[in-house]
Symmetry: D2
Subunit: 395 residues, 4 copies
């Protein structure tokens, strides 16, 4: 490194083996900016399969593990052990795996939802604070440059006072009973023991929840939810209709759905202030639409010189040269790398305004949101408190 070559974090992975697109996604994200080197991992529950797959990723033979327990122990014993571990297993295993690494001082990047109940989530919060490490949660959509610009517009007051928030993550991926047809993702996601108390809120609603909080800077204080199952034969919910109240008095709605026939991805955020509104649609991520009270609608483009510093910082290409899902995911990884390296190497911590990756606190609030939605739905849509006092980070 004395000669100018970059600092790379030693990364381990748990999950994301053969055939897993989310595994591929994490690896692309880690590799994108050259900030991580994948040096260890367990990629499948079958040890032989895990090791064979690790080989295809150039993981050194002695660090191709058969279980996460083995990996946690062995890596902790190495001088050159993993510095960061990324977890992309079914939800129910996030907690034990994350604990094993947090307790050994390893920084963690964990898929959302952080855990399957609030107790687990709070335990991870405590463990990460105790260890003083980073526990990031892959609310990856906040890695999009135009989402970051949206947040800046709200912060700068360009929307005025936020009054209304309409957010939806309505996908069509599970509009049929895929789980009965051998679809592995669908199988575990619709099994409450693996996925948690609400499949659709945990998987999609938490993204919408975080996106709305991230852009508006507001907390969701209460909700009234109806969870339902629209695909006959499904063991979990697959649709959620939620009314929202925000910390400044704003009102909102969320629609989370995995059975919206014909939809592709379906994440969309609209925020209405008293001066302007904005709309961002994940399927056209390079655009942000701003609609002022008076005057023409405006379409802002990623890469443009007129964007805010936080948006420009994570934009890689000229305007009109599309960036996508992987770049956004990579931005989260790279922001985490900055924070981890600052912590480990003693540099200045990155400005969270510029590098705002989703933290364990965001993850805990996501789990709280799931639980509140489940409770409200069970109580026929009663308004349920969605707030949580998380104390001070670092306290």
């Amino acid at each position: 490194m004395t000669d100018g070559s970059p600092r790379r974090l030693r990364l381990g992975m748990v999950g994301g083996g053969p055939g897993s697109t989310i595994g591929e996604t994490h690896r692309h994200a880690a590799r994108f900016d050259g900030r991580y080197a994948l040096v260890a991992g367990v990629f499948a529950s079958d040890p032989a399969r895990s090791r064979a797959f690790a080989a295809t990723l150039d993981v050194p033979p002695d660090r191709r593990y058969g279980s996460w327990e083995e990996m946690a122990e062995a890596e902790a014993a190495r001088r050159d052990g993993v510095e960061v571990v990324a977890i992309m297993t079914p939800n129910a295993s996030h907690h034990p795996i994350a604990r094993a690494f947090l307790d050994r001082g390893v920084d963690v990047i964990c898929d959302k939802p952080l855990a399957v109940d609030l107790e687990q989530a709070l335990d991870l919060l405590a463990a990460s604070r105790r260890a003083g490490v980073v526990l990031a949660v892959t609310y990856n959509y906040t890695g999009y440059p135009m989402v970051r610009h949206a947040r800046e517009l709200v912060r700068a007051g360009e929307l005025g006072t936020v009054r209304l928030v309409q957010v939806e993550h309505a996908s069509g991926w599970a509009a049929t009973l895929l789980e009965a047809a051998g679809h592995k993702q669908a199988a575990w996601r619709t099994t409450p023991a693996l996925a948690g108390k609400s499949t659709v809120v945990g998987d999609l609603g938490t993204h919408a929840h975080h996106l709305a909080r991230f852009v508006t800077g507001l907390e969701i204080t209460a909700l009234s939810a109806e969870l339902s199952t629209v695909v006959p034969g499904r063991a979990s919910d697959d649709n959620a209709h939620v009314k929202l109240r925000f910390s400044n008095g704003a009102r909102g709605m969320m629609w989370a759905c995995m059975a919206a026939t014909g939809h592709l991805h379906g994440l969309r955020l609209r925020v209405y202030g008293d001066q302007a509104s904005l709309e961002w649609i994940q399927e056209q991520p390079d655009q942000l639409v701003v609609r002022p009270l008076d005057g023409p609608h405006r379409i802002l483009s990623r890469g443009a010189g007129y964007l805010s510093a936080p948006a420009r910082r994570v934009s890689r290409l000229w305007p009109g040269h599309p960036e996508g899902f992987l770049e956004a995911f990579a931005n989260v990884y790279t922001d985490v790398a900055d924070a981890v390296i600052a912590r480990r190497d003693g540099g200045a911590a990155p400005d969270p305004g510029l590098a705002p990756f989703p933290t364990v606190e965001d993850g805990v609030l996501g789990v709280k949101f799931v639980e509140a939605a489940v409770e409200s739905s069970r109580r026929d849509g009663a308004w349920v408190d969605a707030t949580l006092d998380l104390g001070r980070p670092g306290a």
Copy 2:
């Protein structure tokens, strides 16, 4: 008429005077297909202004009235009195005006909401059935060809079983306190005594309510609503978030808003079946998007030969030659003309499948919807029954 010239209904108008765009709209709609001749009217509360304005419309001098009471009486006494009267006054006056004409055997076209409470609405239903006349309500968006085609797609089973309905009518027209700035429309619409129990549900929510029912063929059985006021200083509500349950078990959401900053019109319907979904956006009315479970998304165009008979029947121009709001409004007027002429002249009643104009029953259900939303909101979002047994039309 023996020589081939068309049958024109003698039309009277109440409301829609100087500066009223809705008045202009009704007159365009009546004139569009040459099915009505405007022969009488009262256009303003001030008799002199009313008469002066009537002159600009070529209304004969003796039929330029100073009040609707005068008009109802005088026209009833004429051999060539009005056959149809169109009412476009503030909501609270719909009931007395409509009653006056219904009771004299005049067919009525009334703006929505039909009335400001259910008692009034049911009274108009009874009066119209007693008189045996047509009482149509201007849910004008059902006049769009692609809305009619959407209904046919559902009827033909192309969507399969309807599971989810997302509807919104979120306009930005009153995102500021217009009523304090002398805006006449805003002034009466935000005055509960004139507009009714809910401004936003009455004005916009009833359109969304009818559109969803019209296209899906389902009834809304229950709702959970939160009505709110997002513009400070406003005397009425201006935002409604509503969860919906449909008669076949489908779930849905409605967003009705008149303060969605930056929005223009904002009516949009999405219906999800187990085979396909559809989306229609009023601001691009010539398009209907259909998204099948598998296969490419499809954009259907007004005027195309592949459309259903009810859609082709009300399409006037070649594809790609835009039709708009006035044409749709005119389609409702023309469908009403067919029904009224059949009734008056003894011809065959038009097939309601082909000429499905909104009836008094639709209007009553709209008022019921308003009341249910108000009650639910008062009860903190409790689920409220939205059904009503209207008996048989004609019974």
Copy 3:
């Protein structure tokens, strides 16, 4: 009229009989604003059919004519004869019909192209100047409010110096050999004796030609064209690729096509200045896109308060309530009415900046454009002069 009722011009029609959508369009346009009363006409070549059809339009029995010659003579003899005649016959008959009425002092609204050769066109120019009457040509797309606003943007310098113009009118209506399948429109339009020297440039290219001139305020000085026939068996051209040079040195391209498979209408204009560019697409006529050198793209909406006076003047409805093809056509009719009434009744002539309907001069230049394109194509794409000195209007 002393009582406030409006001045209506007595209108006659030639063409546009049973089954003619363009006939319907003209009648809607004339009726839209109540500025014309249809009092005479010949609607079909067969006198009986013509008269029967006239009856359905409420034309008085004695003014249902069997031929345009008869109509011209009879109407000229009446005290209450037609003041304006609208001509919508196949192109080759425009000249004799228009001459007959112009020479009798009747104002004329003529479909484009004005004539089938330049000699005819210049003759009509001379005749109209001699008679001192209005001869308007239905380049109807200039009736759209957002096209008028586009012109104002150029005039106001918001685009800076115009450098490039890309215009296309590429329709798919005749992508098959319709004329062999009994399609009447296709039959005459692909018959050079009826349609003129170039079908596609005459029918579609002239619209594009006028639109480009109208918005930019520039003249097309030279062109290099290739006319081709892409549908096998067709007797006329159906595709034109044209390079353009403009009077200020700007360059451009035109694509005119009636065989663009899958297209609906296909008229689109893009103008690039050194400060900004604009784009207007007829199929979304209520929008105008402006793209500045720097800064977000802007979508301007018809009906908005920020538009120019000429655009607001011809906008009828609130933003987001779509207007379409018929409203635009009506705007041309109404502008013509203003001009004719000023001429006939002695009022002030309307400001052509505010009411810029297409004149005979525009029609003549359109015919010149057709001839230049034909000549260039015959000469293998040689650059051909497209200018013409028309003298001063009124001179």
Copy 4:
């Protein structure tokens, strides 16, 4: 590799140093699928700067070169010398650099245009055939999955006979005189000695040229061009209007521009057959629009199961999870890797139908196209032959 780890090609780079986005792009593309290891390079004309930059890329110290001549010689002398070299220098240097490596048996990936004149281009063709190596040209847009699907649609006859092709690459990046403001890219691109005979056709027109050929499977046989300079003070052309004739008789137009004010990227292809047309716009690369003669327009989405095998093969993510420019660029790199590895390691050559990367022949035809356009423009738009007999690849 015996343990399952992947085969990585040893890659060298020439050009793309500090601040170069195209350099970043090539490196992302090489890294994306883990098929290349960057082991050597020269990144700037100043040796010290080049070496310092190489360090940041983890290039081993002894392979951080000061000039391409040095690199070519030194790498050829190594047992583990580079297998592939990627060239991203200004156009005029492509030829000598590529020759140096081709002649040493190194496979080459070269930016477009391949060379600044046809003589150079043919020399590279001959050199690559002589050496029997791969010389790929980065017409990177053919790496997009939906472009590959478009080609399959044409091949499968879904468009019928291709009749018309409209292609444009009209960017706004150089709408001002950037080169006078110290913009390095603009400076060399507008210097004919560095960029070649036509800046705009070489830089943008060649992309459009290749895209049209790639999708249609047709050759462009003749053209009529007008090259112009629309930005005052510019030393090169910046706009090209070109009429095209294709090998099956189809007609077309190309617009290439770097001064289209307000445009972002501006590559768009439309192909019209007698059965359907297709449209692809690079700024929304995950969509392909197909418009049949009859029936609804269809929007096809990347990642969908209904796509062709060549499209599915290069799709990485689920539908609705946007992929972009870097993924497409990477697809070209990966296809080249397959071909190079097959050549070097003796495996089966990949099916060019499945892995259709742009070859030296495509590069030569691009240069021929530039020369033909320049000649036509000089001859006032005369039709110029654009064909070239390249013999058999491998011959």
